[in-house]
Amino acid sequence: MQDAHVAALPAGWGGGVSPFGATWQKTMMWIFIVTDGLLFSGLLSGYGFLRMSALTPWPERSTVFSIPFIALMTFILITSSATMGTAVGASRLGDRKTALRFLILTIVGGASFLGCQAYEWTHLIEHGARLRSNPWGAPQFCQAFFILTGFHGSHVLSGLVVLTITAIRTAMGRTPAQGVEMAGLYWHFVDLVWVFIFTLFYLV
């Protein structure tokens, strides 16, 4: 009776077997990604609320932003995701040189994206955009813009830090393939979030 009880408890697992057939590092990374995804789910829902409850008309995006410029930023981020994937693949195959080369390309892509975002912020602030006021219409528009792109940009920045550390350690031969894969998972997540922001904020 006592034994049956113990077996039903989660502790009866013993902790040695992964329920997802993945290493604990990967499982933890996915738990982190899901919680971080929920943060953006909340932020995007908040943006939807602000937009639908605004009395003043929502500005036309093409009058505020240069859509080709946003398209270029999207292109850079998607490309950096592909180079990251290649780096993960190379490190899995034990090809350290290729992995390092593609990690550096990913860092260049991420830094370019961040540069574009800094340019966009500067441009908007120069035109009078503030957290609580907007020269193009509904003040909630700028609030949503700064919060969404700010949170995403901070993720890109932390991703760059992680990638730089991974690249240095790969160059020294101290990062196992799994380390590159974990950095890759985070970087692809940053790209994933941008897909949602790009569609829901810039296009819809």
Partner: protein
């Protein structure tokens, strides 16, 4: 040796094929903006392709396709269900907030009559 080279090629291929498809979808989404589609169709088109892109990124770039099925289910279900709950609760609320705001704000014609 040639086996190794083939393995390398096929390992990288998936990422660049995905990259190509993602680019084509992005261009299609940008083009859809230019056509004067009815708003409902445009939003539907954009949201569907946004989800297709998200599936491609999680599946091919993040390797969720190759993980155990339960991991993919838990990740997708958690995010989709929470987003659906947030959206379905916030939408009616935002509409009612908007209605209350427009009641509170006097119409422009009325204010013009005041001295």
């Amino acid at each position: 040796m040639s086996d190794g080279a083939t393995a390398h090629g096929s390992t990288y291929k998936i990422y660049w094929v995905t990259w190509g498809i993602l680019l084509v979808i992005t261009v299609a989404m940008l083009a859809a903006e230019k056509f004067h589609l009815p708003r409902v169709f445009l939003v539907l088109f954009l949201v569907v392709f946004m989800l297709v892109k998200a599936t491609m990124i999680t599946g091919n770039f993040m390797h969720l396709r190759y993980e155990q099925r339960n991991l993919a289910f838990i990740v997708a279900l958690r995010l989709l269900v929470t987003s659906a709950i947030l959206f379905s609760f916030l939408t009616p609320e935002s509409i009612s907030v908007r209605a209350r705001r427009s009641e509170a704000a006097p119409p422009p014609t009325e204010t013009a009559h005041h001295p």
